[in-house]
Every structure is written in structure tokens, then in C-alpha cells.
């Protein structure tokens, strides 16, 4: 066995790959070897560490020193100073993250977070099944297969209070129960990794950083409901996710953790990857199923729900990546452990992707019910340039926009809807006071008009009309009655659209009308854009 005195973790998440982390990794390996340290220092490529805006990021253990924006020319200095002489290279530390953040585990950054889903992201080498096993990987599967009955597994998930993390917040245990009770010769587990919400990239970074946890969670779900086959439907653009998932499946099969008769229990499970072609609507579960079957990606009329009649007409569980990754720790530590995190109504954590006008952009995981204020000002490090906060959009483009008066609302799946918004998939888009609400509204509606699949009239026509009206207001041609028309149109779409796309498309506009009505009115009545963005 090899014993190293230091591990250098190079973040290999997509944001860091784009900044050139692969070159940094290669340079580190070469320099460590040149200095004769290759038997003492191990360079490991890992999943996303979180501070995506500061890439390429590396962490040096045992000290846990976090270096940011490390490029190839910095490598010899890090090797000579830190790895050889033990002196931290201060110029590469703590610039972009809040001042003084030297260590990765610093209380002001990681300390506020609670990592269940991201427990292995940025800690293990995602291409090594051994490192996953070292962190209790596949132990939950072993426990389920050797000690628990399928009903007990479903019961534990029900008791944990886990709800779907893709956005709809449907209780996961209940969903499994529908499929478990259905009588069929074949059942399926589907992992929805068709993350299409603009601003959301958490599933991508989970897939890249900890692919085995998805396989394990799916196998547990398969055992619980009686399915022996799983599919991961992942966006075709997620090249690194697909590559690492593929490697993970191969490794799991080689060790017999996927395949026939796992742990001698008689339970068999296999996973295959299916690539999506980039349609937003395919994140909707029935459109996703159509796409896997080789049909055009359009939603089905429900009921029947996939739980009883899904893929190829068979009972199918469709779970989001983050939901599935929550499953192994829940079973290993018990539902009571899980309920210690988050709120009474909504236990557990939520992974957010922080984007927009915020200092520490990236991937975070926090307890459910945390306030927007803490996320923005503690973990996010505030708004650049000392500018004022204007709004935050929660849940991606189909989520609502919250004004500064709601900075202290607890964020969970049940509280945000009371304010007209939604937690959704976990995108948090922060905007400062230089942005115009009407301009943003038009941008959002243009997206929905483009992505509407056209199958049902309310969505196809509604998104186009809403975009038209908002555009008119932006150009200074709006009429006072347009605002009520937008509201009415939105309500009609919410109740009559076939799937979540059309139902959620009006949400951002409706919350904007609720909280920022004065800005629309000044565009209409005074022909004036308060921020000077629109050409009124």
C-alpha cells in the first residue's frame, strides 16, 4: 500500500476544466516528479470543490490550504514552497473568497454549509471506486440487501421526509410506494439528470464529483420497488458527467456491485446511460420517458402517472439526481438522523448554485430553511462593488423573484410558494440594483417561448403572447391594462398547461408584478426605465 504525506486535490469540475485545471494537474504531477516528491505527494483530480468562480482551485492536505486561480506558471512555486518547504504561498490564497479564507474548511464558507449530498464532492477522486467505498460507499446498499426488506427501505425513506429535489417536491417514499405496489413483470428506475434550468448546474457537478452515489441510490431504489433495470437520462452536453458515469458503471460491475446477485441476495440491478439532445422540456418526466423510448420529447397527458405506467408502459420511478444521492446516507444513518437537518416540514439540505451579482459564485449545500440573507452575505460574500441587492430569483428561470423585503424568508419547498416563488431545482440568481425588471422579464419569456414544445395551446400561445406584451412595455408602448392582462394570461397558463413548463413559465412574471409593479408602471405611465436599460 502506498503512503503519502500530502494529497493535492485539483478540482476537476467543469467550471475549473474551462479555466484550465487539466493543464495545472499535469504540471503538478510533472513538477512533483521533477522534485523527487512523487513518492511522498499524491496529486488527485476530484469533483467540484464549490468556489467555481475562482478556478482552477486546488486544496493541499493535510493542511487543507485552498489555492485559487492557480495556473501553470504558479505550479513550480507551490511545489517548491508548500510541498517541499511547507510554506503557504500566500499570494494565491484568500483573494477572491472572503478575505482571510485560507483553509477550505473555514467557518465562514464551508462552516455554514451542511454537506450530505456533496459529502464526497471535492473530497474523493470520482474515478476511483475505492475512494468512494472509503467514505462508506455501497454500505447502504449492503445494509438494505442483507438486513432490510423492501418495505422497510420504503418506510425509512418515507419517515425521513425526503421530497423530490428536482423542483416538484413530491414525497420520495410515497412515489416509490406507488411503483412497489404496482403489479408488473418489469419495473424501471429512472434518474433524471436532464438538468435544463438556466443557472442550475448542481446535478452536473454531483454527477462529475460523485458518480457512484447515484448508482448506489438507484440500486437501493430498485431493491425497494422491485426494479432490476435503471436508466440515467443525462444531457448530451454533459461530456464529463457521461464519461465519469460510464467509468463508475464499469467499476461497479467489475466489483459485482452492479449486475446479477449483488451481495448474494439474489437481487440484480443494471444501469445504462441515455443521452438527451438538449430540449428543456425533456426534464419533465413524461417527456423524458418519451425521449428514452425514441419518440419526440413531448409530455404525456397525466394520469396515468409514470409510477404505474411509465417507461415502455411499465411502472417507473423517476427521481432527480440530488434526490437519489440523498438516499444512501438516509438508509445508512436512519431517518431520524436526516430529520436533524433542515426544518420540520422540509428536512434535509438543499444544493444551490449561486450565480449572478455575487462574490462567491459556485456550488453550495445548506440546511433547508436557511434565509436568503445568510446565503448571500455569509456564504456568497455579498454583492460585488458594494452595490445594493435588488432581487433574487430562486429555482431557476421558472422560479419567482424575491425583493429585498423577503431576504429573511426561510427557503424551503413549502414556505417559498407562500410568497409566490418556488425553491425549484436550486438555482439562485442574484441581481444588483443596476438591472431593469422589465428587461429581465422579457429575457425570461423569450427563453420559455423558445423552449415550449408546442403540444398544448396554453403554453405555446401563452409564452409567445406574454413575451410580446412584456416586449411592448420595454419599448415604451405598454398600456396600463397590459399588467392585468399579463396576470390573467399567467393564471390561465398555470391551470391549463399540460406540464410543468407552461405551468411554471408565468411564475417569474407574476412575482415581478407582485413585488416590482412600480417599475412596470413607470415604463408604461412615464415611458421611463428607472435604470436606463430599456430604450423607452
Amino acid at each position: 500500500m502506498e503512503f503519502y504525506r500530502s494529497h493535492v486535490l485539483v478540482c476537476g469540475g467543469t467550471p475549473c476544466v474551462l479555466e484550465g485545471c487539466k493543464g495545472v494537474r499535469d504540471a503538478l504531477i510533472a513538477e512533483v516528479k521533477r522534485r523527487g516528491l512523487d513518492r511522498e505527494v499524491k496529486v488527485v483530480e476530484t469533483g467540484c470543490l464549490g468556489p467555481c468562480d475562482l478556478g482552477p482551485v486546488i486544496v493541499v492536505y493535510p493542511e487543507g490550504t485552498l489555492y485559487q486561480k492557480v495556473h501553470v506558471p504558479d505550479v513550480p512555486e507551490i511545489v517548491e514552497e508548500h510541498l517541499l518547504k511547507g510554506r503557504v504561498v500566500t499570494r494565491l490564497v484568500g483573494e477572491g473568497l472572503q478575505a482571510g479564507v485560507v483553509k477550505y474548511e473555514e467557518p465562514t464558507y464551508l462552516g455554514v454549509q451542511e454537506r450530505i449530498v456533496l459529502r464526497n464532492c471535492g473530497v474523493i477522486d470520482p474515478e476511483s471506486i475505492e475512494e468512494y467505498i472509503a467514505r462508506d460507499g455501497y454500505r447502504a446498499l449492503a445494509k438494505c440487501l442483507t438486513e432490510m426488506k423492501p418495505e422497510e427501505v420504503i418506510d425509512a425513506v418515507k419517515k425521513s421526509g425526503l421530497v423530490g429535489r428536482g423542483g416538484a417536491a413530491f414525497p420520495t417514499g410515497l412515489k416509490w410506494n406507488f411503483t412497489a405496489r404496482a403489479d408488473a413483470d418489469q419495473k424501471y428506475i429512472l434518474c433524471n439528470a436532464d438538468e435544463g434550468e438556466p443557472g442550475t448546474f448542481k446535478d452536473r457537478l454531483i454527477l462529475e464529483g460523485d458518480p457512484h452515489s447515484i448508482l448506489e441510490g438507484m440500486a437501493v431504489a430498485g431493491y425497494a420497488v422491485g426494479a432490476d433495470k435503471g436508466f440515467i437520462y443525462v444531457r448530451g452536453e454533459y461530456g464529463l458527467s457521461i464519461e465519469r458515469l460510464g467509468k463508475a458503471i464499469e467499476q461497479a460491475k467489475a466489483l459485482g456491485l452492479l449486475g446479477p446477485d449483488i451481495f448474494g441476495s439474489g437481487f440484480s440491478f443494471d444501469v445504462e446511460i441515455r443521452k438527451g439532445a438538449g430540449a428543456y422540456v425533456c426534464g419533465e418526466e413524461t417527456a423524458l420517458i418519451e425521449s428514452i423510448e425514441g419518440n419526440r420529447g413531448e409530455p404525456r397527458i397525466k394520469p396515468p402517472y409514470p409510477g404505474t405506467e411509465g417507461l415502455f408502459g411499465k411502472p417507473t420511478v423517476v427521481n432527480n439526481v440530488e434526490t437519489i444521492v440523498n438516499v444512501p446516507p438516509i438508509l445508512l444513518n436512519g431517518p431520524d438522523w436526516f430529520r436533524r437537518f433542515g426544518t420540520e416540514r422540509c428536512p434535509g439540505t438543499k444544493v444551490f448554485t449561486l450565480t449572478g451579482d455575487i462574490n462567491n459564485k459556485g456550488l453550495i449545500e445548506v440546511p433547508m430553511g436557511i434565509t436568503l440573507r445568510r446565503v448571500i452575505y455569509e456564504i456568497g460574500g455579498g454583492i460585488p462593488g458594494g452595490r445594493g441587492f435588488k432581487m433574487a430569483q430562486t429555482g431557476g428561470t421558472s422560479g419567482g423573484c424575491l425583493p429585498k423585503e423577503l431576504l429573511d424568508v426561510p427557503m424551503d419547498y413549502f414556505t417559498l410558494p407562500e410568497h409566490g416563488s418556488a425553491l425549484g431545482s436550486g438555482a439562485l440568481l442574484i441581481m444588483d440594483d443596476t438591472h431593469c425588471i422589465v428587461d429581465i422579464a422579457e429575457c425570461f419569456m423569450r427563453f420559455f417561448e423558445h423552449e415550449s414544445c408546442g403540444k398544448c395551446t396554453p403554453c405555446r400561445e401563452g409564452t409567445a403572447r406574454m413575451r410580446g406584451i412584456v416586449g411592448k412595455i420595454a419599448r415604451g408602448e405598454g398600456k396600463p391594462e397590459d399588467l392585468d392582462l399579463l396576470d390573467e394570461l399567467g393564471s390561465a397558463m398555470q391551470v391549463s398547461s399540460l406540464c410543468g413548463l407552461g405551468q411554471a413559465a408565468p411564475v417569474p412574471i407574476k412575482t415581478m408584478l407582485r413585488y416590482f409593479r412600480d417599475e412596470f408602471e413607470s415604463h408604461i405611465n412615464d415611458r421611463l426605465c428607472p435604470t436606463g436599460t430599456c430604450g423607452t
Binding site: 503512503f3 503519502y4 504525506r5 487543507g64 517541499l84 511547507g86 467505498i133 466489483l255 446477485d261
Partner: protein
Amino acid sequence: MKTVEELDRIRKQAQAMTRLREGKETTRIVVGMGTCGIAAGARETLSAIMDELAKRNIQDVVVTQTGCVGLCEQEPIVDVIRPGSARVTYGKVTKEKARQIVANHIVNGQVVGEWVIASA
């Protein structure tokens, strides 16, 4: 995989390899690697410590380096810090002495009194 024991065995092996990322409180050996330390042979000292730990299959010890503490005369300097007890500083630690320190201090818990230059 047919048994849970098989999984446990892989886990234990793999845990030993990744322990140092967990940030848990363990015994630390700190080698002075300033220019003075390196000139006095600290590289060989550190290699000997690594080698001795590997040979004895000791995994719960963290080996790090530090800069010059100002006692260049005594280099190579090695600190042994065990959780709950005072730091022990050894001076003029050659590679042979280093192996002795691992055997006596780390394995058997006996401080090698004659080489200690400070203790706090």
C-alpha cells in the same frame, strides 16, 4: 461482490489511503524544511520518516513540513505533536535518528530524551 465482509475489507484499505483528507486530530510529525534544514539534510530525514512509517504500516500519522524557526544550528529539526500532550522538538535529526524516533516515540510512546532540544 458476494459478501459484506468483502466490502468492509476494501473500505478499510481505502480509508487508510485517504485518511489525511479527513482533518481529524492525529499525531503530527513536523520537519523543518527551510533552506537551513534542507542544507542540513532534512530531505533525507523526511524520506526516512516516510519510509519507516510505511514499513510499519502506520497510517494515522500526518507528516508535514515547516519553515525555519530560527534555530538553524540545530537543523534538521523534527517536532512530534501527539494529541493531548506537549510538543516535543528534536534537534540534529539525521536519517538514522529519524527512524529511531519513529520506533521509540511514535510506536512505543517513549520520548528519546537525549535528542530533545525543547518541549512545550
